[in-house]
Symmetry: D2
């Protein structure tokens, strides 16, 4: 293994995002996966917990450790946290203080405002003074900030699918910020690897159901970032649904023309096309389908790509934007690796299938 | 078999709705399934085409016939048409003229206006003079008309899931008719039993995708019936999605308070509760979940029940209504049998699982 | 509700077989479902635990009780036990002693020999003196015994799929008892409604896996019944696999000609055909597909039918027999109701879809 | 793109194996995908047929061509044929004659004997004189031959899953060649991307079914290779089943001890362990689970790994061996790329996830 690989750790590697991080980092040309921690599996070899990794030469010596700040700071230059909210902060702060770059996949540092965190997560923020120092790790929107960050709060799966299509339109003043509706379908891996009856195979297969209405936790970061793009507060309607696929989020966003834009719907349509096309034409992980074709999650599973399509309805003069992503890739672990690549000056697509 | 069973035929019994009609009518205590037709399978026993029915004593003699008006008029008092649009009218008109009661599952007689039919179905209506004579067979809305109809146009799967929750709110003046959005998820049986690549197992499994945006054909009947409830034209946004289940439609409807209703959101919330509760409390096939629980298609598959739930969002002061149905039952064949029961003075739940 | 309905209880009505019993008994024309018990849900209305039953008029007053022998004996003439093994016996014995007919879906009374029970279930049998009094409730094989039983041990899902095709061939001396292999595929509901990680949606979807090799617990009753048919001990190979469907068992059985039968393979083939055809031609819940068509679970889900097909391979002169059943119906609750019908002198198909 | 990449073509790139080859070869570090052909899609860009590849820089110029020997011989040093049997030979022969290395994924050159081909494929072999020149491309068994081959007949999905576990045991004389049974479960992609009703989503979901009993075409190559390992003819029983997953084959193989081996079952068990362990311990794409754990297809999907496990049953003194592979990877396209790597002297794992 080359000497200039970056020693990297994963804390909480036993959930679905953690497992996906293992898969991606084992295949990453510039990473040496030096530490894996899991309270539940401490002492067990990686391959006995996840048989899938049994064949990797690089994985043969990997054994889950008890999580320890000292061990992590000693052995890793970068640490990915795949932990529940509340717990992540306990690792993030001391690791950053020891000079380690932290990419946190939990919600702990996504929210700028401690009161909002409290409102949506039902608990006091454990380290509110660190909130201003974290960067919201949405690469297509905050690439420059990510390049210099030491604490990267990687976005949630739903927020990514909503923010990437909507932010450019808001910034361009093309849509009415008071009339945003996001309707999302999520694969079951989004619920995590926890033994709960509602996520058993038989309970999910042949089942379609909305949940967490009207106030899903992800609304806090979605509205925060939309408000920043809008330069004033935005409140939206958001409905997540659970549908029987392993991976994938399909989001349909209903948008109305901004004041003044409705007068000339042809011009507005062109402006929407231009806005999204210019913003994303050169992004390696954004595939625009325009109005030619609608996104489909099966085109993006096991890749870090998000597909975005849209259609103005001449009957209602309203806009629908659609996005499709793999919730474990662009919606979680893939995006976290993308930020890691940016932060360490690597090719942004290193280790990430397009 | 009792003498007073009603001789009944199914024309086009080889698709998914046709097969479901066979299943329901074989189990119906007041029906004698006297004729089954299928161009494709003429001459073949029912049980060789659909092995599932091989054990029914009543099914053992059933053989698919070539469709023939004479045979049908001779052998059946009621005929269900499970045919493509355009073809259904060729059977419906001569059968009704011969005194047979026709329950048509196609779109041919759902639209009151021939121009609208032409606009949405891309072809001249084959028998426009019959459009005013047909009754739109949504039992909870048009029970009295159905009881006296000879030509019943049974509604589509998406329309049922949208109209039942929305019509009472529109009639009560509680919602803004200009701001209706319906977002639907449909199981793959909705696409019919036709050999097309996009509906292969591998193309649908692990896939989530919108389609027919912005102008799905069902919009014609949805907007027609909403306009009637509203006493003036209504145009809505409707997005169907294909998701990997065999059966089920889950619809999420976004609704805004009508002018004046937004002033007192608590009162509006109560009025919405009252409106839906009063309208549907005694309906055998409507299960209201209110705001206690959200609908789930797995609670209604293989039944003729539609679940309806709702939630006013205090953050946005908007209403979301959810419905779940089995697209082959309440969304197609079950509802057609419900209309048949009404038309022939039977218990409305005869032969229909709740 | 008619006065001569049989008051019937379900103990342990919160698992998948229990829920299926509720569904079947609510629709049974000669049953009054008088008591439902569940430790977990005691005090809760049926409809709040299983929303699916919310619309049944007969279900509207049903509330889960704490299980109590007195209550059950007082309120029910027949009791279905849908409990874990070991627990079922605690209810079965005192209920039978009080004159109640018990249909036990657990393994507690399926095994004639207490040592075998101990070997396969890893615990002393709680009431070995009752083992000889119980009848193994496989209707097509033991109809007469079931008609007079007070303690019916309803068979497991795998055993039903293996025994029905194999017993007649063994009894007729057509197959070699030393060379029986049964390879089964089971839907995930067979694992029960318990919150274990291996049965989460994401762990089962897109997964195919054998388990419990080489000594699944069901082997004990399979080999016991085969030995009875063979009049001397039979040991078989049995491999269960878990595959991603909700319902269904597909079993492939590999069989060799008995000594002497291999000499004339054409005659043997005819004898096999005759044997199965004569045995099952008049059985309402057995559908023989012969060698014309192979069984498919989708033809039997939601019915109490088992499909049985077979093919002699002229290349190897061996026989393969296939069976398909719904593991919750013919494999569990449907079969238990079939035994109930026999026991109470009702039409054997009462309340059971074919 | 580096100059020393190998120009490579795919003929018939529109089916599932063809699409998988595109995916693998686009990511292969030593391949330049120079030509893609498809009669159906000739003239269309790759990305418009398979949106998934829209983001690949290397894919942006790829357009499907009409298949032409001249074009292929001119532009490619290696050609993968993903064509139906019968058609593949029309390309293979002239390409090899022009000095192109051909890796054929069809059955055309897998069978050494033209009569056997005729028996199993129902048609005369189009180029029988080429049969002796082709190498059966099972790398773990024929690595040396593959390294020097110009016409590689890549094995089918079922044969791979059966041959890899069985050949070493046969060669070592540990199992009885007269008593081999292979029972396989296959994902639906094995049926190809063709618009047939039995492979529609609704027909496959919630369905478990055997098919092609007793004489599936793959038996011809399975028995040929087993006979070679056994040095005398072998006939087996093989039952394929279709189960609802996109990808994966799980095979359960029933094996009996060879004459003499049954005397000491402990010794036989050790010999089996030794045989498989020694043979495969160093193979990069074989993961032995031994008797500690049973294979599961979800551990191998999207990789070129085959998992192999086994268990001797002390009750029956018989052996069961299990294998799990991704039918599109180790079962088809991945294995074809593995042979390509061997043939061109590359690292055998180049471009292939483990």
């Amino acid at each position: 293994m080359s000497d200039n690989r970056i020693n990297t750790a994963i804390v909480g590697a036993s959930g679905y995002s953690g497992e996906e991080l293992v898969r991606l980092l084992l295949g990453h040309p510039h990473v040496n996966l030096s530490v894996l921690t899991s309270r539940q599996y401490a002492g067990q070899p990686l391959a006995s917990v996840f048989p899938r990794f049994g064949g990797h030469t690089d994985a043969s010596d990997l054994v889950f450790s008890e999580p320890s700040i000292e061990l992590l700071a000693d052995k890793a230059k970068a640490v990915f946290l795949a932990l529940p909210h509340g717990v992540a902060a306990e690792f993030a702060v001391p690791l950053v203080q020891r000079g380690v770059t932290v990419i946190d996949l939990s919600a702990d540092f996504r929210i700028n405002d401690a009161d909002t965190y409290n409102e949506f997560y039902g608990t006091e923020h454990p380290a509110p003074e660190w909130l201003p120092k974290a960067v919201y790790g949405l690469p297509e929107i905050k690439r420059a900030d990510i390049a210099n960050a030491t604490l990267i709060a990687s976005p949630g799966c739903y927020p990514t699918s909503i923010l990437l299509p909507t932010i450019p339109l808001l910034e361009a003043g093309l849509i009415d910020p008071a009339q945003i509706i996001a309707d999302s379908l999520s694969g079951i891996s989004g619920a995590g690897r926890k033994a709960d009856v509602p996520f058993l195979y038989v309970e999910c297969n042949e089942s379609l159901r909305p949940y967490s209405v009207p106030k899903h936790r992800h609304l806090s970061e979605i509205e925060q970032e939309l408000s920043l793009a809008n330069d004033s507060p935005v409140t939206i309607q958001f409905t997540p649904h659970l549908v029987p696929v392993n991976r994938g989020i399909l989001t349909t966003i209903y948008l109305a023309p901004a004041l003044g834009q409705a007068d000339d719907i042809v011009q507005w349509t062109d402006a929407v096309d231009d806005c999204l096309t210019k913003r994303y034409a050169d992004e390696p992980f954004v595939r625009l389908t325009g109005s030619d074709r609608l996104p489909d999650t099966k085109n993006v599973t096991y890749t870090n790509t998000i597909e975005i399509g849209w259609a103005v309805d001449p009957r209602t003069q309203q806009l629908r934007v659609f996005s499709a992503e793999d919730n474990l890739m662009k919606g979680a672990s893939g995006q976290a690796v993308q930020s890691f690549n940016i932060r360490f000056g690597l090719d942004e697509t290193s280790g990430l299938p397009i």
